[in-house]
Symmetry: C2
């Protein structure tokens, strides 16, 4: 079934209900939304764009596209320590999209809104000859003066990372038909990590005032550590053997040992990578329990301005790709 609803009907049927909890969104019937920012809070704003064929596969369903779109931005908010609040959504719709697509897409947004405490407040729906292009601007709040930054890493800081690294890049390979011999439950796990990122929203808020620098791992572990180092004017040394891997990730690497490069450079993990002084060690256990997210120390901030990865023998491992770049 191809599109049978006008732009106005589409908005009214599938998007207005997502804005109901925010009065100032006016059911998406006005020129703009009018929003309140609590006193002594700053507004945190981030924009992410997904293009069919580049950021998601043409065969990916509306459910996974919705999850990825919103959660990628939520991860950026998490990296600043912000509490999610509002988002606006721009969709360039192709001629091949069905009403059913919008139904599933909006149902998934509704579920994620409830889970992460964010509501739709506006946007734009236009047509395109293709590819499907979605752009989302997410807004959150953080107590003024406390936002987490990339730029505060100090020489001697420990480098920490949440969860496990590399699952999403391995999941993309699985989606493309690789790793055929992997156990079915491990395939499913990696696919789910690729398709439905888990923004570390609570963890970000717990890190406020406790760490020196934070970034979310989107371009790749080494590349994102490079962003911290560049803005902080320092370098980093990480031990490959300490990078946290999931059970599925370990099995995948056992099958194809060269996949270790995906751990270092694959990207799209949406874990938080951060640096802190040694007093964080003790705190890490409490925060890990409170947020139900594992935290692992993987290296040290150093003076020499490069990111150096040491293998199990203490030798420098050559990083084959500095991370995902968009051109």
């Amino acid at each position: 079934m191809t599109m049978q609803l006008s732009e106005f009907e589409l908005i009214k049927t599938y998007f207005s209900p997502l804005s109901e909890q925010t009065e100032g969104a006016f059911n998406l019937t006005d020129d703009a939304a009018v929003l309140e920012v609590p006193v002594e809070q700053s507004l945190v704003v981030t924009t992410d764009t997904l293009v069919e064929g580049i950021h998601f596969l043409s065969e990916d369903g509306p459910k996974d596209i919705a999850a990825k779109l919103l959660r990628v931005s939520l991860s950026d908010l998490a990296a600043m320590g912000a509490m999610p609040a509002y988002y606006s959504l721009a969709i360039a719709v192709t001629p091949f999209m069905s009403v059913e697509w919008f139904k599933e897409f909006s149902q998934n947004l509704a579920a994620d809104q409830a889970e992460f405490g964010i509501t739709l407040i506006g946007g734009d729906t236009v047509s395109t000859s293709g590819p499907l292009t979605l752009s989302l601007t997410a807004m959150g709040f953080v107590k003024t003066g406390t936002a987490l930054r990339r730029s505060g890493a100090c020489i001697g800081d420990d480098i920490w990372v949440s969860g496990s690294i590399g699952d999403s890049a391995l999941g993309l390979k699985v989606a493309k038909g690789e790793f055929d011999s992997l156990a079915a439950e491990n395939k499913d796990y990696l696919l789910s990590r690729y398709r439905r990122p888990l923004p570390r929203t609570l963890l970000g808020q717990e890190l406020i005032n406790n760490v020196h620098s934070v970034i979310d791992v989107s371009d790749g572990l080494v590349a994102d550590l490079g962003h911290i180092c560049k803005t902080s004017d320092v370098g980093a040394k990480i031990l490959m053997g300490t990078i946290p891997l999931s059970v599925a990730g370990k099995e995948a690497i056992a099958i194809k040992p060269r996949s270790i490069d995906l751990i270092l450079s694959g990207g799209d993990d949406y874990e938080l990578l951060f640096t802190a002084d040694s007093t964080f060690q003790k705190l890490s256990k409490i925060i890990s329990e409170r947020t139900n997210v594992s935290l692992t120390k993987i290296g040290t901030i150093i003076k020499t301005k490069s990111v150096c990865v040491l293998d199990l023998n203490g030798k420098r491992y050559p990083v084959s790709k500095a991370g995902y770049t968009h051109f």
Copy 2:
């Protein structure tokens, strides 16, 4: 010359300088921007998307695309009475775009930033197989509780419109090679109205507390009046002979009298259309002088829930198209 800069270089060279005046944009080097909203002010947010071949012509230059993109959103802020503050920008770049394109594009944004008092605070730059797609989310401030709305029109209100109507739709025809016999300066004027909308930023702020409902004319005069009527649960009657036309618009209609339909339904005027009680008549002269924008009374809000256009003989004029819809 095709693209020779990476995403990071592109941002650093052409976009970071546009964010310099806002400290919390961190030169676009962090995961998100951290912004302040003044006390007792609400945040006004609007998103607009432009797609090559649909919202602008493939032959349109970066200068005009930049102007249209930013000014369309500024017009939405104006319709709420908001003072412009920040914007984020998402661009899906095609393989055919040059560094020169970005240079011109960013230069024009810089000029408009200075003119309208708004700064870039973030965004996303991604690649697409085409068409060029740009999405902008603009943010402004309005004193809490005073935002202008579409929904306040009252029976008996006068209907007012700023500037002149229809120029942009006529300008698009000129751009497509029509109206060949039109005087050169009139062609230029209509083209400029199509390519470089003039958001009524100051006028919007002056209308606060003085009018009952406001919208910007983007879908078309009749369609946008319909939006006011629908959200206000009223109807409207306008007199065709009173709709303000530019000198160029008048000449175009003299050449092709059927073009009058473009006045009613053409859209993209970005004038403010608003309703107010009779006390506004006197105030209109003062506001018009203060903002240097003409204001014209074109009709009345009525009880019957439709938009009715009366021709010069007082007969109902059949509106051929209710306004621009996106599908």
